[in-house]
Symmetry: C2
Subunit: 295 residues, 2 copies
């Protein structure tokens, strides 16, 4: 059997993304040994019980001992304290990576605590579901999806290539860009859509009881698709908005202006304005289907 | 073989909804003969070519001749002229129904042109896809979904029961409510979500070329779900917003206030406010899954 890409991989956090990675790495022999730590004992018990990892640790520092790959897969708000804890415990040469949805803030939080001997390769798989926890993971999650790596100028390029090989081994396509460009693109493709979905589902949640029952009953008419997005992990998303504040607010501003224009067209009964916009938006869907990111 | 529910059903408009109804009615023997007219010859040719209907007519008046059920399944803006055209051509006792997404405006548009001998039973199946045209229809579209009927005080109750039987025969569950209540509920569950989706996809459409390419590429992170909704038929949706203006604007107002509050929380870094909202919205998704309107 060929030597695995990593001898020992340690997951800090083992939810949907972490456990999907671990399952796939085990299935495809990308790591010799897989271990994890998590904040809650219940999560750890599940991860070991499901066979996702072979060993569970109480602290990040204990988990990373002897590992040549460390994957941080927790809500972003916890990164600085995790980096601080694992920094001194890392094996020389061990690569640290992550899967967070914001990248500049993550670089700022992690790098100060790592020595020159431990390259940090920030990563973000553009894949997921609305479910959380180790039981929700599955090895095909990244198949045919993009993973973005955002190394800085000082990131060791061999380490970047090794993390790229890992993601390609898990079925993903890999792109490289700067952390700040990533944050701007994702503000549009991900953070704004989640913000909007959370808002609209929140608006419905505030309705009187009777009406809310009816909204649930007739949700197949459009509302339902928003509830799927708005069922995503609350702490993870809280941290995303707090850590990509500028880009999210900037994008939200554009959206609000466009919404106001549409509102005005409806109020004034400008059918031609509405039809023209609605015809244009159809084309983007076609582009996504052509790019094989939807059926 | 048992007598079909309707001897001859005429569809005015034979797109996604009309053709799905016709397919199911044929499959389950709910109508003896199915005919249609449509504005475009291409649509008519497709509907006949696919075997969805047995006969095609050039005008609504010709199509409804001899029919005991007439289904109006065109964009709402065309209803008044259709009703005017078919009114004098209807067989005494023929039931007229529709599938439009707005109901008060439809009642106002149609009833003035029908005689007392032709009951109008307004209907709205809460089902659909983002695709349009006769080829996109399929007989299972209404299975397990709700159809809302909105008879007025003067609507003949036998006619209402017959239309209910038709929908139940097509696998739907039927609810009855007033036109104005329907319009308020659908403004929340359907019209606002579509308005938001059209806006956000429109905002992305306006981006510079490079950035728009990236939005398509990384759409799996949330944006993709909005593009599905925003790929719906442009004329149909133009007419919905023009005809349910008050309820849509009222709902949009609530949404905008909530969005502003969330924007403020992000700007001020109020993590607890964000987390609390994001945790609440998860529950509505659970309600929808429990109501079997999503998996």
């Amino acid at each position: 059997m060929a030597e695995p890409l990593f001898k020992r991989a340690a997951f800090i956090g083992i939810g949907l993304i972490g456990s999907s990675m671990a399952r796939r790495m085990a299935a495809d022999g990308l790591a010799g040994e897989l271990v994890a730590c998590a904040r809650s004992q219940d999560t750890l018990d599940q991860a070991v019980g499901l066979g996702v990892v072979s060993q569970a640790y109480d602290t990040p520092a204990a988990a990373v001992e002897g590992a040549d790959l460390v994957v941080i897969a927790t809500p972003i708000g916890s990164y600085a304290s995790i980096a601080k804890a694992i920094g001194p415990a890392l094996k020389p040469g061990a690569i640290v990576t992550d899967v967070g949805s914001v990248k500049q803030a993550v670089v700022d939080a992690v790098t100060p605590y790592l020595s020159d001997q431990n390259p940090f390769v920030p990563g973000h798989p553009i894949a997921g579901t609305e479910n959380s926890g180790p039981a929700s993971g599955f090895p095909e999650l990244f198949e045919g999806r993009w993973t973005i790596l955002t190394p800085t100028e000082s990131t060791n390029s061999d380490a970047v290539e090794k993390v790229r090989t890992l993601w390609e081994g898990m079925g993903a396509m890999v792109d490289i860009m700067t952390p700040s460009h990533h944050d701007m693109v994702l503000a549009i493709t991900s953070h704004l859509p989640h913000l909007i979905a959370y808002t609209i589902v929140g608006t419905a949640t505030d309705l009187e009881d009777d009406l809310r029952q009816e909204v649930v009953k007739y949700s197949a008419s459009g509302f339902r698709d928003f509830t799927r997005i708005a069922a995503s992990d609350p702490v993870m998303w809280r941290d995303i908005f707090l850590n990509n504040r500028e880009a999210t607010l900037e994008t939200l501003q554009r959206f609000s202006e466009d919404l106001t224009a549409l509102q005005r067209a409806i109020r004034r009964g400008e059918g031609d304005v509405l039809e023209k916009l609605f015809a244009r938006t159809r084309k983007i869907r076609r582009g996504i289907i052509d790019a094989k990111q939807a059926e």
